[in-house]
Amino acid sequence: MEYQENTVSKNNFEECIKCTICTVYCPVTAVNPDYPGPKQAGPDGERYRLKKPFFYDEALKYCLNCKRCEVACPSNVKIGDIIQSARIKYSKHSPTLRDRMLASTDFMGTMATPFAPIVNGILRLKPVKKIMDSVLKIDDGRTFPTYAHQTFTSWYKKHAASSQAAYPRQAVYFHGCYVQYNYPQLGKDLVTLMNAVGYGVQLLEKEKCCGVAKIANKLIDEAMRDANINLASIRKAVHDDKMQIIATSSTCTFTMRDEYLHILGIDNLDVRDDIMLATRFLYNLIDSGQVKLVFKDGFHKRVAYHTPCHMEKLGWSIYSTSLLKMIPGLDFVQLDSQCCGIAGTYGFKKENYEYSQGIGKALFDQILNSHVDLVATDCETCKWQIEMSTGMPVANPVSILAEAIDIEKTKAVNKVVV
């Protein structure tokens, strides 16, 4: 008789054998006693919630959704997904105005960018921070990311769009809200780097926020809407135009690949494998001998790489770090993989600020003791957190590569004639 050939349960909650390894690697458990820990919040709690929704514990909101529990689990239990799904299904708390503001990264960006100098200035003012702290519960210890004067897409349209078609091969760039509103330079670096190896950079027909902040703040309908818009454009690019989607944010990438399916329940399997980080895309090209990078002589920096949580979950830091290690003048330091504590909008919230900084402390100490010139990481919110908490400059590996390559020689060796 064929039965019990394989046991499966939603997010594998039943495959948990209660070994407790996940709790050891949970960054929140270590600092916040009100959080029940991933095992309790996840598979243990799930059995009780299945019995009665009465057993839902609002303390699940303290979960960072870093997924380090999942990475540690020897039994492949999707602990983070269990917790996030439970929040969506059972939590009776509706998002506050603050949550909506923090979650609506694209809306806030659209509003702020035209007035960037004013907004940036205002957000730094002490009285404004105090008001945000007391009224909106956005912690006044937090430094806000600055808004750019010009969005990435308006730069792209003016300065890059027209020249891209000339490159022999094409890829589509999912820039994300951060590049769009806060730091267009990273997008420009990506274009530089890709152009140098012979790839033109296109944009999606329509790009919305990936939705990570909306999911975290329980704005599920809004997240679903954005996700569907993104997927429609991604499908067009992948299926019709035969292009792959590259991104510079590990979190956007992770969200579109995994959270769409696991948390929002949107089937993305037809395009999932075509959504990837730019570093993976580039590494693959180099590894398979399709392109080469030629580096400048004068680059000398000691760089520490921080593995963002979602990068750890993706298992892709090997691509970013391998690329960095190719730079001859780069003295590479691998930081211990641990959470920086920001977790997107989590660390902005007043109730989480202290925990957020507590979680990141070990990482900050390690960075400050490693005597580097620069920290490299693939996540924008990690960048804010580390810059604010250590004073060290932080750059995306793509920016470091764009700076380190000899553009003309790289173009030449790849026979790029544009």
């Binding site: 309790q40 019995k51 303390a59």
Partner: protein, 552 residues
């Protein structure tokens, strides 16, 4: 002999199952000086080894109207008096394509005759009501089934009996009777902890020993033939279904799936066993295969749901014919006055019946006892709620457990404790941070709850604690919590030697249930258990042989 041992009782009740505990409660409530004795722990026999189904009676409607009528009456009573032990899930009787839909018509008719509200519904509605049911069903009937926790029910009866002055002795085995001519005047007891033998005296002894009552009657010199029919069940790791699913056909193997607390149960098989095998409750590979083969027909997801353990119980039916399956036997109540039946005064046997009718059995036995003792007191067990069930059913509200000092909401272990002990959970003390700590993470049992159970609910060992609280009944089957609980227990009993042996036995008892289903996660869990308790701790050094440690 101490003064306490000389105390003369009106009634001694033998047997710590639901019937014995219920009889002790009824006797005590009617003002009889009562002693309840049990050779092991409460619920160690058939009471703790069944489906935990709050039968509507529908299952018996076609074959046994009398039982069906009793069931539905008691069902309604238990919903009132034992709220905290009952989970009102509702039930379905479903017809599979391979079954005869004709049976359903007769079934519904019989249900109505017995006073059971059986309502045929569209199979589509049944699937909506319980998505775990086989989607190919061709018929469905809604019935007022539910789940009942036999552990809680029995202990609540004990607590009630004690409140009304009853004395209770667990781990005291009846090894003989005191008698004067043709009258039973007391029982000889052996204390299983120290082997000490004592006697207790009473005007009347009630044998409520279930299947073991056969042997007790023999000790008294009378004959009550029991029919031992073994039934095996499987426990799945979580609630697969939230509504009881029965198969609408003549009762057969594995045709009931019951959601019980955090888990679901499929059962049972039925096989006749010799009387000398009633303490040997190993589940065979064949029984597991039958349960899976039939169980997956009513709920296909069972085929890929983790199984926590297997166990078996013995139906305490009174033999009446040579039916090899035991199924057509009446589950009716048998209440014997051995004075009229056998000329032996001072001795009553209450047997037959089933968990559902334990209260009625107790009522019959106590009525007879009162008659024999010349007391004229009415039974009130159908009206007065059991301890823990005094308050209205609630969804996380009415009970007066206070949130732990430093958090606003009730913690999960407090919510779980409320479900387990009803209003009695207010007696659980969270005096210190240490009391708030959770011992059993799967089933959410705190130090405070364990201390409450040790103080109030006759807990001498870890198995007692498990039956009172669900400690070690969850996914990991005690692998994480057993040692912690032993650490709490040893503080109370001050005997490290005994507690360590107990720990070693407890772990082995948990494995015994995992063993018949030792593949997949159960094997992983078993290996993990071995590493910790044998590898890391070295408990094999003091292990008792497996046959010495059966769930007692």
């Amino acid at each position: 002999m101490s003064q306490e041992n000389n105390r003369h009782y009106d009634v001694i009740v033998i047997g710590g199952g639901a019937t014995g505990a219920g009889t002790a409660r009824d006797c005590a409530m009617r003002g009889l000086k009562t002693l309840l004795v049990e050779r092991f722990d409460f619920t160690a026999g058939a009471t703790g080894r069944n489906h935990g189904l709050l039968h509507s009676g529908a299952r018996y409607a076609v074959t046994d109207q009398e039982s069906a009528t009793e069931c539905i009456k008691e069902n309604m009573i238990l919903r009132r008096i034992a709220r905290h032990c009952v989970d009102d899930t509702g039930g379905l009787f479903v017809t599979l394509p391979e079954d005869d839909l004709e049976y359903q018509h007769n079934f519904v008719e019989c249900c109505h005759k017995a006073g059971i509200n059986a309502e045929p519904i569209d199979p589509k509605d049944a699937i909506r009501l319980e998505p775990a049911v086989n989607h190919d069903i061709i018929g469905a009937v809604k019935v007022p089934d539910g789940a009942i926790d036999p552990f809680r029910l029995t202990v609540a009866n004990v607590v009630s009996a004690r409140k009304d002055g009853a004395d209770v002795l667990t781990y005291h085995e009846v090894i003989g009777f005191e008698r004067e001519q043709n009258r039973i005047t007391g029982v000889k007891l052996r204390d299983s902890k120290n082997g000490e033998i004592t006697s207790r005296y009473a005007d009347l002894v009630i044998n409520a020993g279930g299947i073991w009552g056969h042997h007790i009657a023999e000790l008294a010199g009378v004959r009550v033939n029991m029919f031992p029919a073994k039934g095996a069940l499987l426990i799945f790791g979580h609630r697969v279904n939230n509504v009881v699913i029965n198969r609408c056909r003549k009762p057969a193997d594995a045709d009931i799936l019951v959601p019980g607390d955090t888990i679901s149960l499929i059962g049972t098989t039925s096989s006749r066993i010799p009387y000398d095998q009633i303490d040997n409750m190993d589940v065979t590979q064949e029984e597991v295969d039958v349960l899976m083969r039939e169980g997956t027909k009513i709920a296909p997801s069972l085929a890929y749901t983790r199984i926590l353990r297997a166990y078996a119980g013995v139906r305490p039916l009174v033999a009446s014919d040579n039916d090899p399956s035991g199924r057509s036997i009446s589950r009716g109540i048998v209440c014997l006055d051995h004075a009229t039946r056998d000329g032996l005064e001072g001795f009553i046997t209450i047997t037959g019946g089933k968990l559902m009718t334990y209260r009625l059995m107790a009522e019959w036995a106590t009525d007879l006892a009162c008659k024999k003792l010349g007391r004229d007191v009415k039974c009130r067990t159908a009206e007065i709620p059991l301890p823990g069930s005094e308050l209205e059913a609630h969804e996380g509200g009415t009970v007066m457990t206070r949130p732990k000092a430093h958090i606003i909401d009730l913690s999960t272990d407090q919510k779980a404790a409320e479900e387990r002990h009803g209003s009695l959970s207010a007696e659980i003390k969270y005096n210190t941070l240490a009391d708030e700590a959770v011992v059993c993470e799967c089933e959410q049992v705190s130090v405070g709850e364990l201390k409450y159970a040790i103080d109030r609910l006759h807990c001498e060992n870890l198995i007692n604690l498990r039956r009172r609280t669900r400690l070690g009944m969850g996914t990991c089957q005690g692998e994480l919590c057993a040692c912690r609980a032993a650490g709490i227990l040893v503080k109370a009993n001050k005997c490290a030697e005994r507690t360590l042996r107990d720990l070693s036995s407890f772990i082995n008892e948990r494995w015994k249930g995992m063993y018949p289903v030792s593949w997949g996660e159960s094997l992983v869990e078993g290996q993990f258990m071995s590493w910790l308790y044998e590898g890391v701790c070295g408990l094999d050094e003091i292990a008792l042989p497996e046959d010495k440690i059966d769930a007692k």
